[in-house]
Symmetry: C2
Subunit: 283 residues, 2 copies
Protein backbone atom coordinates (compact mmCIF):
# COMPACT_ATOMS: atom_id res chain seq x y z
CA UNK A 1 0.00 0.00 0.00
CA UNK A 2 1.37 3.43 -0.88
CA UNK A 3 0.61 6.55 1.12
CA UNK A 4 -2.21 8.79 -0.04
CA UNK A 5 -5.89 8.40 -0.88
CA UNK A 6 -7.06 5.06 -2.24
CA UNK A 7 -10.60 3.69 -2.36
CA UNK A 8 -11.95 6.48 -0.18
CA UNK A 9 -9.34 6.21 2.56
CA UNK A 10 -6.17 8.19 3.20
CA UNK A 11 -3.41 5.89 4.42
CA UNK A 12 -0.02 6.84 5.79
CA UNK A 13 2.16 4.00 6.99
CA UNK A 14 5.46 4.73 8.70
CA UNK A 15 8.59 2.58 8.34
CA UNK A 16 7.63 0.71 11.53
CA UNK A 17 4.76 -0.86 9.58
CA UNK A 18 1.83 1.03 11.03
CA UNK A 19 0.19 4.40 10.65
CA UNK A 20 -2.97 6.39 10.30
CA UNK A 21 -6.03 5.71 8.17
CA UNK A 22 -8.61 8.43 7.58
CA UNK A 23 -11.96 8.21 5.81
CA UNK A 24 -11.52 10.61 2.90
CA UNK A 25 -14.20 12.65 1.18
CA UNK A 26 -13.93 15.12 -1.67
CA UNK A 27 -10.47 16.31 -2.71
CA UNK A 28 -10.64 20.10 -2.66
CA UNK A 29 -7.13 20.85 -3.88
CA UNK A 30 -4.44 18.68 -5.43
CA UNK A 31 -1.53 20.21 -7.33
CA UNK A 32 2.20 19.84 -7.67
CA UNK A 33 4.08 22.99 -6.78
CA UNK A 34 7.74 23.53 -7.64
CA UNK A 35 8.55 21.72 -4.40
CA UNK A 36 5.94 19.12 -3.57
CA UNK A 37 2.45 17.71 -4.01
CA UNK A 38 -0.05 19.85 -2.10
CA UNK A 39 -3.39 18.25 -1.29
CA UNK A 40 -6.41 19.20 0.82
CA UNK A 41 -9.36 16.85 1.25
CA UNK A 42 -12.60 16.67 3.19
CA UNK A 43 -13.19 13.92 5.72
CA UNK A 44 -16.80 14.57 6.68
CA UNK A 45 -15.79 13.73 10.27
CA UNK A 46 -14.59 15.63 13.34
CA UNK A 47 -11.15 15.87 11.71
CA UNK A 48 -12.59 18.28 9.18
CA UNK A 49 -10.34 19.08 6.23
CA UNK A 50 -6.86 17.61 5.94
CA UNK A 51 -3.66 19.07 4.42
CA UNK A 52 -1.02 16.67 3.14
CA UNK A 53 2.31 17.44 1.45
CA UNK A 54 3.82 14.68 -0.68
CA UNK A 55 1.17 12.37 0.85
CA UNK A 56 2.40 13.01 4.39
CA UNK A 57 0.03 14.35 7.04
CA UNK A 58 0.62 18.01 7.82
CA UNK A 59 -2.48 19.18 9.63
CA UNK A 60 -6.22 18.65 10.06
CA UNK A 61 -8.85 21.20 11.03
CA UNK A 62 -9.91 18.94 13.89
CA UNK A 63 -6.62 18.24 15.62
CA UNK A 64 -4.24 20.99 14.45
CA UNK A 65 -4.32 22.62 17.91
CA UNK A 66 -2.32 19.73 19.38
CA UNK A 67 0.66 20.77 17.27
CA UNK A 68 0.28 24.54 16.94
CA UNK A 69 -0.33 25.29 20.63
CA UNK A 70 2.77 23.30 21.54
CA UNK A 71 5.24 24.72 19.02
CA UNK A 72 4.19 28.29 19.83
CA UNK A 73 3.30 28.68 23.52
CA UNK A 74 6.06 26.68 25.18
CA UNK A 75 8.89 28.95 23.90
CA UNK A 76 6.76 32.13 23.77
CA UNK A 77 5.68 31.86 27.41
CA UNK A 78 9.25 31.21 28.51
CA UNK A 79 10.31 34.60 27.05
CA UNK A 80 9.77 37.74 29.11
CA UNK A 81 8.64 39.91 26.20
CA UNK A 82 8.55 38.27 22.76
CA UNK A 83 8.04 41.12 20.29
CA UNK A 84 9.67 39.89 17.10
CA UNK A 85 9.01 36.34 15.91
CA UNK A 86 10.17 34.36 12.88
CA UNK A 87 8.22 31.29 11.75
CA UNK A 88 10.10 29.08 9.28
CA UNK A 89 7.85 26.85 7.18
CA UNK A 90 4.40 26.80 8.74
CA UNK A 91 2.63 27.89 5.54
CA UNK A 92 -0.70 26.68 6.91
CA UNK A 93 -0.68 29.66 9.26
CA UNK A 94 -1.56 27.78 12.46
CA UNK A 95 1.68 28.64 14.24
CA UNK A 96 1.37 32.32 13.29
CA UNK A 97 -2.20 32.34 14.64
CA UNK A 98 -1.02 31.06 18.04
CA UNK A 99 1.96 33.46 18.15
CA UNK A 100 -0.36 36.42 17.58
CA UNK A 101 -2.30 35.55 20.74
CA UNK A 102 0.62 36.99 22.75
CA UNK A 103 -0.11 40.68 23.25
CA UNK A 104 3.62 41.45 23.35
CA UNK A 105 4.06 40.58 19.67
CA UNK A 106 4.75 43.45 17.30
CA UNK A 107 5.91 41.54 14.24
CA UNK A 108 5.76 37.99 12.90
CA UNK A 109 7.69 37.04 9.78
CA UNK A 110 6.51 33.87 8.07
CA UNK A 111 9.21 32.48 5.78
CA UNK A 112 7.66 29.66 3.73
CA UNK A 113 9.31 28.34 0.58
CA UNK A 114 6.10 27.20 -1.08
CA UNK A 115 3.56 29.93 -1.88
CA UNK A 116 1.08 27.32 -3.06
CA UNK A 117 0.77 25.99 0.51
CA UNK A 118 -0.09 29.45 1.80
CA UNK A 119 -2.61 30.17 -0.94
CA UNK A 120 -4.32 26.77 -0.67
CA UNK A 121 -4.59 27.04 3.13
CA UNK A 122 -5.96 30.57 2.96
CA UNK A 123 -8.67 29.34 0.60
CA UNK A 124 -9.53 25.96 2.09
CA UNK A 125 -8.37 26.04 5.73
CA UNK A 126 -9.48 29.48 6.93
CA UNK A 127 -9.73 28.49 10.62
CA UNK A 128 -6.01 27.69 10.50
CA UNK A 129 -4.68 30.26 8.01
CA UNK A 130 -7.11 33.07 8.85
CA UNK A 131 -4.62 35.20 10.77
CA UNK A 132 -2.07 35.41 7.96
CA UNK A 133 -3.70 38.70 6.92
CA UNK A 134 -3.05 40.30 10.33
CA UNK A 135 -1.14 43.59 9.85
CA UNK A 136 1.61 42.36 12.19
CA UNK A 137 2.39 39.49 9.80
CA UNK A 138 4.96 39.76 6.99
CA UNK A 139 4.92 36.84 4.58
CA UNK A 140 8.14 35.99 2.75
CA UNK A 141 7.83 33.27 0.11
CA UNK A 142 11.50 32.36 0.20
CA UNK A 143 13.94 29.63 1.04
CA UNK A 144 14.59 30.04 4.77
CA UNK A 145 18.15 28.77 4.30
CA UNK A 146 18.94 31.88 2.25
CA UNK A 147 16.63 34.21 4.17
CA UNK A 148 18.26 33.57 7.53
CA UNK A 149 21.87 33.93 6.36
CA UNK A 150 22.30 37.68 6.92
CA UNK A 151 19.91 38.08 9.88
CA UNK A 152 21.66 39.20 13.08
CA UNK A 153 20.04 40.09 16.36
CA UNK A 154 16.54 40.27 14.84
CA UNK A 155 14.18 37.85 16.59
CA UNK A 156 13.12 37.07 20.13
CA UNK A 157 11.65 33.76 19.04
CA UNK A 158 12.32 31.55 16.01
CA UNK A 159 9.91 28.66 15.38
CA UNK A 160 11.05 26.02 12.91
CA UNK A 161 7.74 24.61 11.72
CA UNK A 162 9.25 22.51 8.96
CA UNK A 163 8.30 19.37 7.10
CA UNK A 164 10.34 16.20 7.67
CA UNK A 165 14.11 16.01 7.09
CA UNK A 166 13.63 14.76 3.53
CA UNK A 167 12.28 16.66 0.51
CA UNK A 168 12.08 20.47 0.60
CA UNK A 169 12.68 20.63 4.36
CA UNK A 170 16.00 18.77 4.29
CA UNK A 171 18.27 21.82 4.43
CA UNK A 172 16.52 22.96 7.61
CA UNK A 173 18.23 20.15 9.53
CA UNK A 174 21.90 21.17 9.21
CA UNK A 175 24.51 22.65 11.55
CA UNK A 176 24.99 25.62 9.24
CA UNK A 177 21.29 26.43 9.28
CA UNK A 178 21.04 26.10 13.06
CA UNK A 179 24.06 28.40 13.45
CA UNK A 180 22.39 31.03 11.29
CA UNK A 181 19.19 30.67 13.32
CA UNK A 182 21.19 31.21 16.52
CA UNK A 183 22.80 34.33 15.06
CA UNK A 184 19.40 35.72 14.10
CA UNK A 185 18.28 35.71 17.74
CA UNK A 186 18.26 38.74 19.97
CA UNK A 187 19.74 38.45 23.45
CA UNK A 188 17.55 36.10 25.50
CA UNK A 189 16.11 34.58 22.33
CA UNK A 190 14.56 31.12 22.16
CA UNK A 191 14.13 28.63 19.32
CA UNK A 192 11.58 25.83 19.08
CA UNK A 193 11.81 23.30 16.26
CA UNK A 194 9.55 20.40 15.42
CA UNK A 195 11.70 17.32 15.92
CA UNK A 196 9.71 14.38 14.62
CA UNK A 197 8.09 11.39 16.33
CA UNK A 198 9.89 9.74 19.26
CA UNK A 199 7.99 6.57 18.37
CA UNK A 200 8.98 6.14 14.74
CA UNK A 201 11.76 8.66 13.91
CA UNK A 202 14.40 7.66 16.47
CA UNK A 203 17.35 7.92 14.07
CA UNK A 204 16.24 11.30 12.72
CA UNK A 205 15.84 12.62 16.28
CA UNK A 206 19.31 11.46 17.30
CA UNK A 207 20.90 13.11 14.28
CA UNK A 208 18.98 16.36 14.71
CA UNK A 209 19.78 16.78 18.41
CA UNK A 210 23.44 16.00 17.85
CA UNK A 211 23.57 18.98 15.50
CA UNK A 212 21.46 21.27 17.71
CA UNK A 213 23.66 20.53 20.73
CA UNK A 214 26.75 21.58 18.77
CA UNK A 215 25.16 24.98 18.18
CA UNK A 216 23.07 25.76 21.28
CA UNK A 217 24.42 25.62 24.85
CA UNK A 218 20.87 24.97 26.04
CA UNK A 219 19.00 22.26 24.12
CA UNK A 220 16.04 20.43 25.63
CA UNK A 221 13.15 18.37 24.35
CA UNK A 222 9.46 18.56 25.05
CA UNK A 223 6.72 16.24 23.84
CA UNK A 224 2.95 16.04 23.47
CA UNK A 225 0.46 13.85 21.68
CA UNK A 226 -0.89 14.52 18.18
CA UNK A 227 -3.60 12.04 17.14
CA UNK A 228 -2.95 11.99 13.38
CA UNK A 229 0.86 12.23 13.37
CA UNK A 230 3.09 9.12 13.13
CA UNK A 231 3.00 7.26 16.43
CA UNK A 232 0.50 9.79 17.83
CA UNK A 233 3.36 11.38 19.77
CA UNK A 234 5.57 14.32 18.83
CA UNK A 235 8.75 16.06 20.04
CA UNK A 236 9.98 19.63 19.77
CA UNK A 237 13.45 20.96 20.45
CA UNK A 238 13.76 23.93 22.81
CA UNK A 239 17.05 25.77 22.22
CA UNK A 240 18.62 28.93 23.52
CA UNK A 241 21.99 30.46 24.32
CA UNK A 242 20.97 31.72 27.76
CA UNK A 243 17.37 30.91 28.71
CA UNK A 244 16.71 27.55 30.40
CA UNK A 245 13.34 25.94 29.75
CA UNK A 246 10.85 26.35 32.64
CA UNK A 247 13.05 29.13 34.07
CA UNK A 248 10.26 31.65 33.51
CA UNK A 249 6.55 31.64 32.78
CA UNK A 250 4.69 34.89 32.30
CA UNK A 251 1.79 34.24 34.69
CA UNK A 252 -0.55 36.92 33.41
CA UNK A 253 0.01 36.16 29.73
CA UNK A 254 -0.28 32.46 30.52
CA UNK A 255 -3.67 32.95 32.13
CA UNK A 256 -4.99 34.95 29.19
CA UNK A 257 -3.72 32.55 26.57
CA UNK A 258 -4.93 29.45 28.43
CA UNK A 259 -8.48 30.79 27.97
CA UNK A 260 -8.03 30.65 24.19
CA UNK A 261 -6.43 27.19 24.05
CA UNK A 262 -7.73 23.63 23.86
CA UNK A 263 -4.72 22.05 25.54
CA UNK A 264 -2.25 24.69 26.75
CA UNK A 265 -2.18 25.63 30.43
CA UNK A 266 0.57 26.23 32.95
CA UNK A 267 0.57 22.73 34.47
CA UNK A 268 0.53 21.15 31.04
CA UNK A 269 3.45 23.39 30.04
CA UNK A 270 5.50 22.43 33.10
CA UNK A 271 4.86 18.73 32.49
CA UNK A 272 6.03 18.68 28.88
CA UNK A 273 9.75 18.33 29.60
CA UNK A 274 9.34 15.09 31.59
CA UNK A 275 10.43 12.50 29.06
CA UNK A 276 10.04 8.71 28.85
CA UNK A 277 13.20 6.71 29.58
CA UNK A 278 13.71 5.58 25.99
CA UNK A 279 13.72 9.15 24.73
CA UNK A 280 16.09 10.35 27.45
CA UNK A 281 18.49 7.55 26.46
CA UNK A 282 18.17 8.44 22.78
CA UNK A 283 19.11 12.06 23.48
CA UNK B 1 -14.30 -0.45 5.57
CA UNK B 2 -14.90 -2.72 8.58
CA UNK B 3 -12.37 -3.20 11.33
CA UNK B 4 -10.05 -6.20 11.16
CA UNK B 5 -7.62 -7.67 8.63
CA UNK B 6 -8.33 -7.11 4.94
CA UNK B 7 -5.90 -7.42 2.03
CA UNK B 8 -2.91 -7.75 4.32
CA UNK B 9 -3.68 -4.74 6.51
CA UNK B 10 -5.35 -4.50 9.90
CA UNK B 11 -7.60 -1.44 10.04
CA UNK B 12 -9.36 0.02 13.04
CA UNK B 13 -11.32 3.20 12.45
CA UNK B 14 -12.90 5.04 15.37
CA UNK B 15 -16.22 6.90 15.21
CA UNK B 16 -14.33 10.14 14.51
CA UNK B 17 -13.46 8.72 11.08
CA UNK B 18 -9.82 7.90 11.56
CA UNK B 19 -7.73 5.21 13.14
CA UNK B 20 -4.80 2.90 12.92
CA UNK B 21 -3.61 0.79 9.98
CA UNK B 22 -1.06 -1.98 10.51
CA UNK B 23 0.67 -4.16 7.95
CA UNK B 24 -0.49 -7.65 8.90
CA UNK B 25 1.36 -10.90 8.40
CA UNK B 26 0.39 -14.44 9.34
CA UNK B 27 -2.62 -14.92 11.63
CA UNK B 28 -1.37 -17.12 14.47
CA UNK B 29 -4.61 -17.49 16.39
CA UNK B 30 -8.21 -16.67 15.52
CA UNK B 31 -11.11 -18.17 17.46
CA UNK B 32 -14.40 -17.14 18.95
CA UNK B 33 -14.56 -17.74 22.69
CA UNK B 34 -17.83 -17.67 24.66
CA UNK B 35 -17.31 -13.92 24.93
CA UNK B 36 -15.52 -12.51 21.91
CA UNK B 37 -13.32 -13.03 18.87
CA UNK B 38 -9.71 -13.52 19.96
CA UNK B 39 -7.04 -12.94 17.31
CA UNK B 40 -3.25 -12.73 17.30
CA UNK B 41 -1.32 -11.89 14.14
CA UNK B 42 2.26 -11.24 13.07
CA UNK B 43 3.26 -7.88 11.64
CA UNK B 44 6.86 -8.53 10.67
CA UNK B 45 7.64 -5.01 11.92
CA UNK B 46 8.78 -3.43 15.17
CA UNK B 47 5.25 -3.82 16.50
CA UNK B 48 5.78 -7.57 16.63
CA UNK B 49 2.68 -9.64 17.26
CA UNK B 50 -0.69 -8.01 17.83
CA UNK B 51 -3.65 -9.11 20.00
CA UNK B 52 -7.13 -7.96 19.04
CA UNK B 53 -10.48 -8.74 20.70
CA UNK B 54 -13.58 -8.35 18.52
CA UNK B 55 -11.31 -6.61 15.99
CA UNK B 56 -10.29 -3.92 18.46
CA UNK B 57 -6.63 -3.34 19.30
CA UNK B 58 -5.67 -4.68 22.70
CA UNK B 59 -1.90 -4.85 22.68
CA UNK B 60 1.19 -5.28 20.53
CA UNK B 61 4.55 -6.76 21.50
CA UNK B 62 6.24 -3.57 20.32
CA UNK B 63 4.26 -0.91 22.15
CA UNK B 64 2.53 -2.70 25.05
CA UNK B 65 4.84 -1.02 27.56
CA UNK B 66 3.15 2.35 26.96
CA UNK B 67 -0.04 0.97 28.48
CA UNK B 68 1.18 -1.55 31.04
CA UNK B 69 3.77 0.66 32.73
CA UNK B 70 1.19 3.39 33.15
CA UNK B 71 -1.72 1.35 34.54
CA UNK B 72 0.57 -0.40 37.04
CA UNK B 73 3.29 1.94 38.30
CA UNK B 74 1.35 5.16 38.84
CA UNK B 75 -0.93 3.68 41.53
CA UNK B 76 1.61 1.13 42.82
CA UNK B 77 4.29 3.75 43.46
CA UNK B 78 1.78 6.00 45.23
CA UNK B 79 1.14 3.22 47.81
CA UNK B 80 3.53 2.83 50.73
CA UNK B 81 3.56 -0.96 50.68
CA UNK B 82 1.40 -2.67 48.06
CA UNK B 83 1.34 -6.36 49.03
CA UNK B 84 -1.97 -7.62 47.71
CA UNK B 85 -3.05 -6.67 44.18
CA UNK B 86 -6.12 -7.51 42.10
CA UNK B 87 -6.00 -7.17 38.30
CA UNK B 88 -9.41 -7.25 36.63
CA UNK B 89 -9.33 -8.18 32.95
CA UNK B 90 -5.75 -7.97 31.73
CA UNK B 91 -5.66 -11.54 30.43
CA UNK B 92 -2.61 -10.76 28.30
CA UNK B 93 -0.55 -10.67 31.51
CA UNK B 94 1.27 -7.38 30.85
CA UNK B 95 -0.19 -5.59 33.86
CA UNK B 96 0.63 -8.52 36.14
CA UNK B 97 4.21 -8.53 34.85
CA UNK B 98 4.64 -4.84 35.79
CA UNK B 99 2.97 -5.30 39.21
CA UNK B 100 5.40 -8.12 40.05
CA UNK B 101 8.35 -5.74 39.60
CA UNK B 102 7.43 -4.20 42.98
CA UNK B 103 9.32 -6.16 45.63
CA UNK B 104 6.59 -5.47 48.17
CA UNK B 105 4.09 -7.64 46.31
CA UNK B 106 3.13 -10.93 47.96
CA UNK B 107 0.06 -11.84 45.92
CA UNK B 108 -1.51 -10.85 42.60
CA UNK B 109 -4.95 -12.15 41.68
CA UNK B 110 -5.78 -11.96 37.97
CA UNK B 111 -9.54 -12.13 37.42
CA UNK B 112 -10.14 -12.53 33.67
CA UNK B 113 -13.48 -13.70 32.31
CA UNK B 114 -12.06 -15.24 29.14
CA UNK B 115 -9.65 -18.14 29.63
CA UNK B 116 -9.00 -18.24 25.89
CA UNK B 117 -7.29 -14.84 26.07
CA UNK B 118 -4.93 -16.07 28.79
CA UNK B 119 -4.10 -19.32 26.98
CA UNK B 120 -3.56 -17.64 23.61
CA UNK B 121 -1.31 -14.96 25.13
CA UNK B 122 0.72 -17.51 27.07
CA UNK B 123 1.35 -19.39 23.82
CA UNK B 124 1.85 -16.55 21.36
CA UNK B 125 2.81 -13.47 23.41
CA UNK B 126 5.31 -14.86 25.94
CA UNK B 127 7.13 -11.52 26.48
CA UNK B 128 3.83 -10.10 27.73
CA UNK B 129 2.21 -13.10 29.43
CA UNK B 130 5.39 -14.78 30.64
CA UNK B 131 5.00 -13.83 34.30
CA UNK B 132 1.54 -15.37 34.69
CA UNK B 133 3.26 -18.53 35.97
CA UNK B 134 4.93 -16.66 38.84
CA UNK B 135 4.08 -18.38 42.17
CA UNK B 136 2.72 -15.10 43.55
CA UNK B 137 0.03 -15.05 40.83
CA UNK B 138 -3.41 -16.63 41.27
CA UNK B 139 -5.46 -16.80 38.09
CA UNK B 140 -9.25 -16.79 38.40
CA UNK B 141 -11.13 -17.34 35.14
CA UNK B 142 -14.30 -15.69 36.36
CA UNK B 143 -16.62 -12.76 35.85
CA UNK B 144 -15.10 -9.98 37.94
CA UNK B 145 -18.58 -8.59 38.62
CA UNK B 146 -19.39 -11.71 40.63
CA UNK B 147 -15.88 -12.26 41.95
CA UNK B 148 -15.64 -8.84 43.59
CA UNK B 149 -19.06 -8.92 45.28
CA UNK B 150 -18.04 -10.52 48.59
CA UNK B 151 -14.48 -9.17 48.83
CA UNK B 152 -13.93 -6.88 51.80
CA UNK B 153 -10.67 -5.34 52.91
CA UNK B 154 -8.59 -7.61 50.67
CA UNK B 155 -6.47 -5.55 48.26
CA UNK B 156 -4.00 -2.70 48.49
CA UNK B 157 -4.31 -2.04 44.78
CA UNK B 158 -7.04 -2.88 42.25
CA UNK B 159 -6.24 -2.38 38.56
CA UNK B 160 -9.19 -2.43 36.17
CA UNK B 161 -7.52 -3.48 32.93
CA UNK B 162 -10.76 -3.94 31.03
CA UNK B 163 -11.85 -3.82 27.42
CA UNK B 164 -14.10 -0.99 26.27
CA UNK B 165 -17.50 -0.23 27.84
CA UNK B 166 -19.30 -2.35 25.26
CA UNK B 167 -19.24 -6.15 24.87
CA UNK B 168 -17.95 -8.34 27.71
CA UNK B 169 -16.44 -5.38 29.59
CA UNK B 170 -19.70 -3.42 29.85
CA UNK B 171 -20.58 -4.43 33.42
CA UNK B 172 -17.22 -3.15 34.62
CA UNK B 173 -18.40 0.43 34.07
CA UNK B 174 -21.26 0.63 36.64
CA UNK B 175 -21.73 2.32 40.00
CA UNK B 176 -22.45 -1.03 41.65
CA UNK B 177 -19.21 -2.54 40.37
CA UNK B 178 -17.15 0.49 41.45
CA UNK B 179 -18.74 0.32 44.92
CA UNK B 180 -17.77 -3.33 45.23
CA UNK B 181 -14.24 -2.48 44.10
CA UNK B 182 -14.04 0.22 46.75
CA UNK B 183 -15.21 -2.23 49.42
CA UNK B 184 -12.57 -4.74 48.36
CA UNK B 185 -9.80 -2.26 49.19
CA UNK B 186 -7.78 -2.30 52.36
CA UNK B 187 -7.24 0.97 54.23
CA UNK B 188 -5.08 3.24 52.09
CA UNK B 189 -5.98 1.29 48.96
CA UNK B 190 -5.79 2.71 45.44
CA UNK B 191 -7.62 1.85 42.22
CA UNK B 192 -6.48 2.55 38.68
CA UNK B 193 -8.83 1.92 35.78
CA UNK B 194 -8.28 2.29 32.07
CA UNK B 195 -10.64 5.07 31.00
CA UNK B 196 -10.55 5.22 27.23
CA UNK B 197 -9.20 7.78 24.76
CA UNK B 198 -9.61 11.49 25.56
CA UNK B 199 -9.42 12.09 21.81
CA UNK B 200 -12.24 9.84 20.60
CA UNK B 201 -14.18 8.56 23.64
CA UNK B 202 -15.28 11.85 25.21
CA UNK B 203 -18.83 10.71 26.01
CA UNK B 204 -17.67 7.41 27.52
CA UNK B 205 -15.13 9.25 29.68
CA UNK B 206 -17.74 11.69 30.97
CA UNK B 207 -20.12 8.88 31.91
CA UNK B 208 -17.42 6.79 33.56
CA UNK B 209 -16.03 9.60 35.71
CA UNK B 210 -19.51 10.67 36.79
CA UNK B 211 -19.96 7.18 38.23
CA UNK B 212 -16.48 6.96 39.75
CA UNK B 213 -16.91 10.33 41.48
CA UNK B 214 -20.11 9.10 43.13
CA UNK B 215 -18.16 6.24 44.68
CA UNK B 216 -14.66 7.55 45.40
CA UNK B 217 -13.95 10.75 47.35
CA UNK B 218 -10.65 11.03 45.49
CA UNK B 219 -10.90 10.58 41.71
CA UNK B 220 -8.25 11.95 39.36
CA UNK B 221 -7.16 11.34 35.80
CA UNK B 222 -3.77 10.71 34.31
CA UNK B 223 -2.83 10.34 30.66
CA UNK B 224 -0.04 9.11 28.43
CA UNK B 225 0.43 8.29 24.77
CA UNK B 226 -0.10 4.84 23.24
CA UNK B 227 0.85 4.69 19.55
CA UNK B 228 -1.63 2.02 18.40
CA UNK B 229 -4.66 2.98 20.54
CA UNK B 230 -7.46 5.21 19.22
CA UNK B 231 -6.20 8.80 19.00
CA UNK B 232 -2.76 7.69 20.20
CA UNK B 233 -3.61 9.07 23.65
CA UNK B 234 -5.05 7.29 26.67
CA UNK B 235 -6.49 8.11 30.10
CA UNK B 236 -6.61 6.20 33.37
CA UNK B 237 -8.68 6.94 36.45
CA UNK B 238 -6.87 7.12 39.78
CA UNK B 239 -9.31 6.55 42.66
CA UNK B 240 -9.00 6.18 46.40
CA UNK B 241 -10.88 6.87 49.61
CA UNK B 242 -7.93 8.48 51.35
CA UNK B 243 -4.75 8.65 49.27
CA UNK B 244 -4.31 11.68 47.01
CA UNK B 245 -2.37 11.16 43.76
CA UNK B 246 1.23 12.42 43.91
CA UNK B 247 0.99 12.54 47.73
CA UNK B 248 3.68 9.86 48.00
CA UNK B 249 6.29 8.25 45.79
CA UNK B 250 8.47 5.47 47.14
CA UNK B 251 11.87 6.86 46.07
CA UNK B 252 13.86 3.66 46.43
CA UNK B 253 11.29 1.45 44.72
CA UNK B 254 10.88 4.11 42.03
CA UNK B 255 14.60 4.09 41.29
CA UNK B 256 14.71 0.31 41.01
CA UNK B 257 11.65 0.04 38.81
CA UNK B 258 12.71 2.91 36.54
CA UNK B 259 15.72 0.78 35.55
CA UNK B 260 13.36 -1.90 34.21
CA UNK B 261 11.02 0.45 32.35
CA UNK B 262 10.95 1.97 28.87
CA UNK B 263 8.95 5.02 29.87
CA UNK B 264 8.31 5.13 33.63
CA UNK B 265 10.43 7.43 35.79
CA UNK B 266 9.67 9.80 38.65
CA UNK B 267 9.45 12.99 36.57
CA UNK B 268 7.27 11.26 34.00
CA UNK B 269 5.03 10.03 36.84
CA UNK B 270 4.68 13.52 38.35
CA UNK B 271 3.83 15.00 34.94
CA UNK B 272 1.01 12.59 34.12
CA UNK B 273 -1.73 14.40 36.05
CA UNK B 274 -1.28 17.68 34.12
CA UNK B 275 -4.22 17.56 31.72
CA UNK B 276 -5.08 19.47 28.54
CA UNK B 277 -7.85 22.08 28.93
CA UNK B 278 -10.44 20.14 26.93
CA UNK B 279 -10.05 17.11 29.19
CA UNK B 280 -10.24 19.18 32.37
CA UNK B 281 -13.47 20.71 31.09
CA UNK B 282 -14.86 17.29 30.20
CA UNK B 283 -14.22 16.02 33.73
Amino acid sequence: MTNGIQNGFYNEINPDGFGVVIKAGKVLFSKHSDFQKVEIFETGSKLGRVLTLDDLMMTTEGDEFYYHEMIAHIPMMNHKCPESVLVIGGGDGGTVREVLKHNTVKKVVLCEIDGMVIDACKEFLPTIAGKLDDPRVEIRVEDAIEFIKDKKNEYDIVLIDSTDPMGPGEGLFTEEFYTNVKNSLKKGGIVAAQSESPVVNKEEIKKMYNLLKKVFPICSTYTSNIPTYPGGYWAWAYCSETVEPLSYIDEKRCEEITKTCKIYNKDYHMARFALPNYLKELL
